[in-house]
C-alpha cells in the first residue's frame, strides 16, 4: 500500500493494470464481463491475452449471468483499510459459467453466509466506482450442491 496521504481514506482503487482495465470499465456500465475462448468455449477471469486452457488468442467478451455460488468465504473482524471497516465478508464466488472470482457477499448478516450459498451479482457504489458484489439469491435458499472442485467449463 503505497498510497499518498491524501488518498488514504478513499476506497482502494483497482490496480493500474492493462489486463484488467476493460473489466473495470464494463463494471462502470453495470456489466460483469468474462473473457470467452472462441476456440474451446472456456470462460475465464480475470481477462488475459490468451485462453489459459488452450492458449488461443481468438477470444471475446461475454456478460456473465451474475448467478453463482459461494465456494468459500471469510469474515474479516480486523480492519485493514479505513474505507472498509470490519466486519465484512470476502468470498470466492464461482459463477455459473465457470470462472471464479474474489468478491464480497453483502445484503445479509456476516454470520449468515454459508459455503455453497446461491448468490447473484449486484453493483455497489464506492466513491466514484461501481464494485461487483454478490447477495443471496432472492428466496434466500442455500444451495444444496457442493461448490465444485476442479470444474472447468
Amino acid at each position: 500500500m503505497e498510497e499518498k496521504a491524501a488518498t488514504k481514506t478513499a476506497h482502494p482503487a483497482p490496480a493500474d493494470d492493462q489486463l484488467t482495465a476493460s473489466f473495470w470499465e464494463a463494471c462502470q456500465h453495470g456489466s460483469l464481463m468474462m473473457t470467452h475462448c472462441r476456440d474451446c468455449g472456456h470462460y475465464f477471469l480475470p481477462p488475459g491475452p490468451c485462453c489459459p486452457r488452450c492458449w488461443s488468442s481468438y477470444i471475446d467478451q461475454h456478460a456473465a449471468s451474475g448467478r453463482g455460488q459461494v465456494v468459500t468465504y471469510t469474515v474479516y473482524r480486523h480492519g485493514y483499510h479505513p474505507a472498509i471497516p470490519p466486519p465484512y465478508v470476502v468470498a470466492v464466488i464461482e459463477l455459473d459459467e465457470g470462472p471464479r472470482m474474489v468478491s464480497n457477499v453483502t445484503g445479509l448478516d456476516s454470520d449468515a453466509v454459508r459455503t455453497g450459498m446461491r448468490v447473484q451479482l449486484v453493483f455497489e457504489q464506492a466513491g466514484d466506482r461501481k464494485i461487483p458484489r454478490f447477495e443471496p439469491t432472492s428466496g434466500g435458499t442455500t444451495g444444496t450442491s457442493e461448490a465444485s472442485t476442479g470444474k472447468k467449463t
Binding site: 482502494p12 493494470d17 469474515v75 473482524r77 485493514y80 459455503t115 455453497g116
Partner: protein, 379 residues
C-alpha cells in the same frame, strides 16, 4: 536420489524486533556463522543464492538482492541469484544450490535468507492486484478461505487448529533461542481475537527481523571436512499459479502434487520420516500439509494433531524448534537449520531420538508456491 551435495554448515543472526540492525548486518552475520560452522573460510565460497524475504525483493527498483549482498561479502562467485517464491524461497534456494553443485557449476554455495519486516512494515497487510478493492488484505485472508473450506469439507474444529499452536509453543519451550516459549492452554487459544474467521490472531505466525544461512557443499569437498554433514535425499516443487483458475486451490496445497515425487525420488515413504519441519505461516497450512504429504488421510489432519500428535514425543514431531508460530519468522530457512541440527544430533533438550530422516517444506505467496526437501543424517 541426490548424491553429490550435502549441507555442511548452518548459522543465523538473532531474531526479533531489531531496529538498530540493517538486513545487511543480519545477513552477513548469518553468512559468517554458516561458513564457520562448516569449518571453511569466506574465500571457499563460490556460489551465492538469496531469499530476500517479504520486505526486500528488488531493491530501489533495479538492484537485485544477491548483487548487494554479494558486494558486501566480497564475492565474485561462479553461480548467483535471488529467488522470489515467498515463503517457499528458502527451501527453494537450498534445492537450487544442490542442483548447481551437482551440475558442477559451483562447489560451495551459500544460501541466505534475511529481512527486517518489523523495521519495514509496509510490506505486510498488502492487497495484491485488485484484491484491495474487496478488502481482501493480508496473507491471512487467503489462508482463512482455505481454513473455511477445510472446516466445510471435513468438519475441522477450531480446537484442532488450536492443537497446532499449542504444539508449536510446547516445542519452543524446549528451544533456548525461540521467541515465544510460554505454554498456551486451549482456553488461551480460543480466547484469541478473530482476525479473518475462522483464523484467530494466534493462528498467525509472528513477524521478525533476522537472517539465516546454509552452506551447500559438494560431497567431494565435504569428504575432507571434520564436521558431520547432512545429505540431501531429494527435492520437489509444485505451484498453483492460477489461484482462482485452479478449482482445487482452496482444498489442497500444491504439495499434494510434489509430495509423492519427493518420496519417490528418495525411495522413501511418509512412515520413514522421523520429524517434519513444515512451513507454518498459519496453523491451517500445517494441517493441510499433513494430508498433502500423506502422514494421514485427507480430512484427518484435525484428529492427527489431537492429543499431542505433533507435539514433543508425539507420533510425528513437527517443527521441533517452534516454527514460524513460536520460534521466529525465519523465512523457512530456520526450518532447514532445525532439520540439520536434529540430524546432526545437536538439538539438546528437544532432540528427537535417532532422527535420521527429516522433511522440510516451504510454502508461499497466495498459497501459490511449494517446495520440499528430504534430508538424511550422515551415518
Amino acid at each position: 536420489m541426490s548424491r553429490g551435495a550435502v549441507i555442511a554448515g548452518v548459522g543465523h543472526s538473532e531474531f526479533g524486533r531489531l531496529p538498530g540492525l540493517t538486513p545487511w548486518q543480519l545477513e552477513t552475520t548469518a553468512a559468517r556463522a554458516a561458513v564457520a560452522d562448516a569449518g571453511l573460510e569466506p574465500g571457499d565460497v563460490d556460489g551465492l543464492l538469496t531469499d530476500p524475504g517479504p520486505a526486500q525483493g528488488i531493491l530501489d527498483g533495479i538492484t537485485p538482492h544477491f548483487l548487494r549482498l554479494g558486494a558486501q561479502l566480497g564475492l565474485d562467485p561462479d553461480y548467483a541469484g535471488s529467488e522470489i517464491l515467498g515463503g517457499a524461497g528458502s527451501v527453494g534456494i537450498v534445492g537450487r544450490a544442490v542442483l548447481a553443485v551437482e551440475a558442477g557449476l559451483c562447489s560451495a554455495c551459500l544460501c541466505v535468507y534475511g529481512d527486517s519486516p518489523l523495521s519495514q512494515p509496509a510490506a505486510f497487510g498488502y492487497g495484491r492486484g485488485d484484491d484491495a478493492v474487496f478488502g481482501f488484505f493480508g496473507a491471512v485472508g487467503m489462508h482463512a478461505l482455505a481454513a473455511r473450506r477445510h472446516a466445510h469439507n471435513y468438519g475441522t474444529r477450531p480446537e484442532q487448529l488450536g492443537e497446532v499452536v499449542l504444539a508449536a509453543r510446547a516445542h519452543a519451550a524446549l528451544t533456548p533461542h525461540a521467541l515465544k516459549r510460554e505454554l498456551l492452554s486451549m482456553d488461551d487459544y480460543l480466547a484469541s481475537k478473530p482476525v479473518a474467521e475462522p483464523l484467530r490472531a494466534l493462528d498467525c505466525c509472528m513477524v521478525s527481523d533476522g537472517a539465516a544461512a546454509v552452506l551447500v557443499l559438494s560431497a567431494e569437498r565435504a569428504a575432507r571436512l571434520e564436521r558431520s554433514t547432512v545429505r540431501v535425499l531429494s527435492q520437489a516443487q509444485a505451484h498453483s499459479l492460477q489461484t482462482m483458475g485452479n478449482g482445487t486451490h482452496f482444498d489442497q496445497l500444491p504439495a499434494a502434487r510434489s509430495a509423492p515425487r519427493l518420496f519417490e525420488r528418495a525411495g522413501l515413504e511418509p512412515s520413514d520420516v522421523d520429524l517434519a519441519l513444515l512451513y507454518d505461516c498459519f496453523s491451517i497450512v500445517l494441517l493441510m500439509q499433513l494430508e498433502d504429504y500423506g502422514f494421514c488421510a485427507r480430512g484427518e489432519a484435525g484428529s492427527f494433531v489431537e492429543n499431542g500428535g505433533i507435539a514433543p514425543g508425539g507420533r510425528l514431531p513437527v517443527n521441533t524448534s517452534g516454527g514460524l508460530l513460536a520460534e521466529c519468522y525465519g523465512g523457512g530457512m530456520m526450518h532447514v537449520i532445525e532439520a540439520v541440527r536434529q540430524l546432526r544430533g545437536e538439538a539438546g533438550e528437544r532432540q528427537v531420538a535417532d532422527a535420521s530422516v527429516a522433511l522440510v517444506s516451504g510454502h508461499g505467496l497466495g498459497m501459490n508456491t511449494h517446495t520440499g526437501l528430504l534430508l538424511g543424517a550422515d551415518r
